[in-house]
Amino acid sequence: MIKFWKKRLQNPISTKNLEFNDELKEIKKELKSVIAKRFAGSLAIRMVSSGSCNACEAECNALSNPYYDLERLGIHFVASPRHADAMLLSGVVSINMYHHVLDAYHQMPQPAHIITLGDCPLLEGTFKQNFAIKGAKSLNLPISHHIQGCPPEPKEIIKGLLEFIKNPKDF
């Protein structure tokens, strides 16, 4: 344990060297104040993967690493749709996930938002509609915002969330 604290004292801040740090700082500043205003200090997101290649989830997991540390801005991922303001939907909405996504949506308190993540859900990327790939539009649910990319990088996800927070449709 001693070793650990020694290291902490020597290298207190880990975000120093990343090249996009300044840009990120700006985004973070902006994000924090909007969340405080619109979502009473915290935005709760339920991530639902509906048939992705798992890279989109990996990038969302990266949002919790100390470089991005999304939680300190008041955005956090929650374990149940019942606690969520928004569903972050990745993947193509596969035939075997279709009804589960609907179930999750109907568990969310209203107003519930859907944010689509990556090129998959809107079938804008490699995966096109087929008998096993339904796409998010087939759910017939309102989609409040879309974050494009394959996968969108953590920085782009943060930016996308900021855009959503500033201007969520059907708000």
Partner: protein, 458 residues
């Protein structure tokens, strides 16, 4: 037991006048031909337990009846899946409607006081969908059934009828965290089917990328494993290293996951930059290792948890990290080419969470060493124009384990594509690791194996 061949894959191909079932073992390939009008296949699941999923998949894909099996339940055809056999050539629908809900019968243990805990398909964390059904006697896990194929995207079908080179865009996205492995497996097939030579410089570049992918995967896991045992600081530290390595991968390949990087040319890269990066990384991993090894309360959780002994590992033919942690020496990199560049097969013996954790750290060091040796000059090779018809197979060691790929070309187009993700085998052995543990250990055990859902579901 010694000569017991390892089952690698078992899948069907539709020919003009029969269904051909190809079974690939480590030293032989077997072919069976079935009548098209009433296809019946004799099960081998009494000898090979892991044949079960392969056979259930064939049933769902082609409507092949499996005789002599103890498990006739659907695998891909979930509750509302329509009555179709999508891998048959005659099936060409692009849209199908759902059928009536018909419930799935889970494997459960019955008895007084025994209850079931269903988990999934949507999980509490940020993770792919899958279902785990536990039979519990209080805290004690009596049985676990893993039920997947929620991310089934009909990828095998959608690759049929397209050109070999055009398949790259889809194949690299079968399983994102194994993307480079999938691309490499396909590239191997491209080389076999064309007349070009796989230049050593190009091969070294591809192997270099594959080792970076492996390092990222291991780094992510050595953070998440202690995290699931309640030690979050480890995740904070290791997730920085995996982020650094992702940024590094992007510098070299142009993409954070290496999409589109296994090509006929290498990117220009700066050998000094790589050297510096690797030195720093190595130092940080060493520091991390010392730190974690020194925390007895963590090792209380890791040791003896989720054990898969060598005998069972062999019986189930598990691959990759899971196999090597149990003392089985299987690694597709165990060949002269890799050895020339510093590959040393790493293994542990106990097969518990602790073994898998330690193995991952050892493999990171070996991968770093190999990357140093793989550094070479940039190169550009002409892209082949035509491909010979025929059947091709390739093996690549992904960050999870042995990946097997099969492509049959006919008239220059893909007639059949099949890939067996290492996870497809290992998922079937997961329940063996639960037998002596409590349900609270499940996330820890699952994470220590870190299998892919998307790769296994396809």
């Amino acid at each position: 037991m010694k000569d017991f061949p390892r089952l690698i894959a078992r899948f069907a191909v539709e020919n003009e006048d029969n269904f051909e079932v190809i079974t690939v073992y480590d030293h032989k390939i077997q072919r069976e031909f079935l009548d098209k009008n009433s296809p019946v296949l004799n099960s081998i699941s009494s000898i090979y337990t892991t044949a079960t999923w392969f056979e259930r998949k064939m049933r769902d894909d082609f409507g092949i009846k499996i005789a002599g099996t103890y498990d006739n339940r659907p695998l891909i055809h979930h509750e509302r899946f329509p009555a179709i056999y999508p891998m048959r050539k005659e099936f060409q629908e692009q849209e199908v409607s759902f059928s009536q809900y018909s419930p799935y019968k889970y494997e459960t243990v019955k008895g007084e006081g025994v209850f079931e805990v269903p988990v999934g398909p949507i999980h509490a964390g940020i993770i792919e969908p899958g279902h785990f059904q536990f039979s519990q006697e209080g805290e004690r896990m009596l049985h676990l059934e893993v039920r997947h194929f929620y991310t089934y995207r009909a990828i095998e079908k959608s690759l049929e009828g397209i050109k070999l080179l055009d398949s790259r865009e889809i194949i690299e996205k079968i399983s994102g965290n194994e993307s480079i492995a999938y691309q490499s497996a396909l590239f191997n097939i491209i080389i076999q089917a064309s007349s070009i030579k796989y230049d050593d410089k190009l091969k070294k570049y591809h192997c270099l990328l594959l080792e970076i992918e492996r390092i990222i995967h291991h780094l992510t896991d050595i953070g998440f494993i202690p995290n699931d045992a309640g030690f979050g600081a480890a995740l904070s530290f290791a997730s920085q290293l995996s982020e650094d390595t992702r940024v590094f991968l992007k510098k070299i390949s142009g993409h954070r996951f290496g999409f589109g990087s296994i090509e006929f040319e290498t990117k220009e890269y700066d050998a000094n930059m790589i050297e510096n990066f690797l030195n720093t990384l190595e130092e940080k991993v060493k520091w991390f290792e010392n730190w974690i090894m020194d925390i007895p309360s963590l090792w209380d959780r890791f040791d003896t948890t989720g054990t898969l002994n060598k005998k069972k590992a062999r019986k189930y033919g598990v691959v990759g990290v899971v196999a090597r942690a149990s003392g089985k020496k299987v690694d597709s990199r165990d060949n002269d080419f890799y050895k020339k560049y510093g590959f040393i097969l790493q293994n542990e013996s106990v097969g518990d969470v602790g073994s898998r954790f330690k193995l991952r750290i050892k493999e990171i060091y070996n991968s770093i060493e190999m990357i140093r040796n793989f550094i070479d000059e940039a190169l550009h090779v002409e892209q082949p124009k035509s491909f010979k018809d025929g059947e091709y197979m390739s093996f690549v060691e992904s960050s999870i384990g042995e990946l097997f790929m099969f492509v049959k070309l006919k008239d220059g187009l893909i007639e059949r594509f099949y890939a067996r993700d290492p996870s497809f085998i290992n998922w079937q052995a997961l329940y063996l690791m639960m037998e002596k543990d409590i349900i609270a250990d499940f996330p820890l055990i699952n994470k220590s194996c870190d299998l892919s859902y998307a790769g296994s579901d396809l």
